[in-house]
């Protein structure tokens, strides 16, 4: 029993994360349609839910073509990195006190490390495609993700200062009295923006920028390799939403309902918010993106740490 339980948790988390990620394809199309006064996919199965299955069958049976000019080993390897790094982070995510793959005492740092590694996927994909649009996308992704990672880490330090731990379970437990979204509102907004930039979702989808760069770093990808990027993006959205719930909205904490329900309610709220942002916001220019990152977000994050630290010190 004791040896079987962790394996069940691992498999359960894997299956749930992957099925949420693929279900998001349907959810996103339905929600975008709702906000654009359309219906979206509503024909295949009840509410069009089987659209996901149809899409999966399609993407698995598509020709998996590797361009002759590409750097083959890197080209094949790149899409795997993004899925692996995101799935690794799910290992430290506390869904409830019992449902957690590994209770790492530096869980938050592990997440930051893994999201930094995720950049390699995009950069290597852009580089190995040997295509100028892909390369431009890869270079943009590198610059964007590096500069947004800086204040992503810093925006979370306020939470760490208040909790006194990098352990995600302890961070949730520390929010019994008050969710961190109230004392750490600036950190919350900054992490939301940085998380969007990390997942390369629409206001920050400059690495893809289909109106400028064909499809950016994954222009040359087809079949399931493209599917990996696709699933990786949705896994990233799920992960960032789950982390926002854990770090700022008290994770599984909540009255009446069981902890796991509270966790999923909070997570889906932010997933829907991410999709709403995609439905409403235009893509900024690249220099605007960079100057916001370095000249606005980074000083704000630093000021947030300074104020939080001062308040914590004064209360001690």
């Amino acid at each position: 029993m004791t040896s079987f339980y962790p394996i069940a948790i691992i498999i359960g988390v894997l299956i749930v994360a992957l099925s949420i990620a693929s279900g998001l394809i349907w959810l996103e199309r339905r929600l975008l349609a709702l906000w654009q006064d359309r219906y979206g996919p509503n024909r295949v199965g009840p509410f069009g839910l089987l659209q996901v299955v149809a899409d999966m069958i399609k993407i698995f049976t598509k020709e998996d073509w590797i361009p002759p000019f590409a750097d083959k080993p890197v080209f094949v390897f790149a899409p795997a990195i993004i899925v692996v790094t995101v799935l690794m982070t799910f290992a430290v995510l506390p869904i409830t006190p019992r449902i957690i793959v590994t209770n790492l005492n530096i869980g938050l740092l592990f997440f930051l490390a893994m999201s930094s590694l995720g950049v390699y996927s995009v950069v290597l994909a852009g580089w190995s495609s040997n295509n100028k649009y892909s390369l431009l996308g890869g270079v943009r992704a590198a610059a964007q993700m590096l500069s947004y990672e800086v204040f992503m880490g810093l925006s979370l330090m306020g939470v760490v200062v208040l909790t006194g731990s990098f352990d995600l379970s302890k961070i949730v437990e520390a929010q019994r009295k008050m969710w961190f979204v109230i004392p750490q509102f600036v950190g919350f907004v900054l992490f939301l923006i940085a998380g969007l930039a990390e997942t390369r979702r629409l206001p920050f989808d400059l690495p893809e920028a289909e109106s400028e760069l064909v499809a950016g770093y994954h222009s040359e990808y087809s079949g399931m390799k493209f599917g990996m990027f696709f699933v990786g993006e949705y896994l990233g959205v799920t992960l960032i939403s789950a982390l926002i719930a854990v770090l700022f909205l008290g994770g599984w904490l909540g009255p009446c309902l069981p902890p796991i329900i509270w966790f999923f309610i909070k997570m889906f709220l932010f997933i829907c918010f991410f999709i709403l942002l995609r439905a409403s916001l235009p893509r900024p220019r690249f220099d605007q993106l960079m100057s916001w990152g370095w000249k606005l977000m980074l000083p704000l994050a630093l000021a947030n740490i300074l104020v939080t630290g001062a308040v914590v010190l004064a209360h001690r």
């Binding site: 349609a33 709702l34 906000w35 654009q36 006064d37 359309r38 219906y39 709403l276 942002l277 439905a279 409403s280 916001l281």
Partner: protein
């Protein structure tokens, strides 16, 4: 910054707007009576074919999708022996309807013409010819213009009104 938040809020309010999509197979969009859809050949109120096989529709057709062979019946009246429209070429421009001197060829508000086989897009005369007069219920070309048949020219029969001479018909 505030404008961004306002945009997000405005888009969120679209949750409660009604959706403009027409759910096609169940609901159908309104097509005006003069919509240019599937082409038909009409008959005059007496039930005779209106088409006189003048080839004007075939001549005016910009994509050459109309083909026909005119012939004469025993009274010397022209009619199409066969009439063929290739709807995989047709662009539904309506020039044939404009060109037709007898209102025989007409476009109808029907757009549901999908086929699994390209061969089925070719409509022969039996597919084109309908039983009614189409958009011009009372119109009978031969009553208006007079009939010339073998042995009798226009307006030569008993009680037949004289033909208007178009060359002297001035305003």
């Amino acid at each position: 910054m505030l404008s961004l938040l306002r945009t997000i809020w405005d888009v969120l309010l679209h949750t409660f707007h009604h959706r403009v999509t027409v759910q096609y197979p169940e609901q159908k969009a309104y097509l005006a009576p003069r919509y240019r859809g599937r082409i038909i050949l009409s008959r005059d109120p007496d039930g005779g074919e209106r088409c006189v096989g003048c080839y004007l529709c075939a001549a005016v057709c910009p994509v050459d999708c109309i083909a026909l062979q005119a012939t004469e019946d025993k009274n010397g009246r022209r009619f199409p022996e066969w009439f063929r429209i290739n709807f995989s070429r047709c662009i539904f421009c309506g020039f044939c309807e404009d060109a037709c001197p007898t209102y025989a060829i007409q476009l109808t508000p029907d757009v549901e013409m999908s086929e699994y086989h390209r061969q089925n897009m070719i409509y022969e005369k039996e597919h084109l010819l309908i039983d009614g007069p189409g958009k011009y219920p009372g119109y009978n070309y031969w009553r208006v213009c007079g009939v010339a048949i073998r042995g009798k020219d226009k307006a030569e029969a008993e009680h037949e009104a004289p033909v208007t001479d178009l060359h002297t018909l001035m305003p």
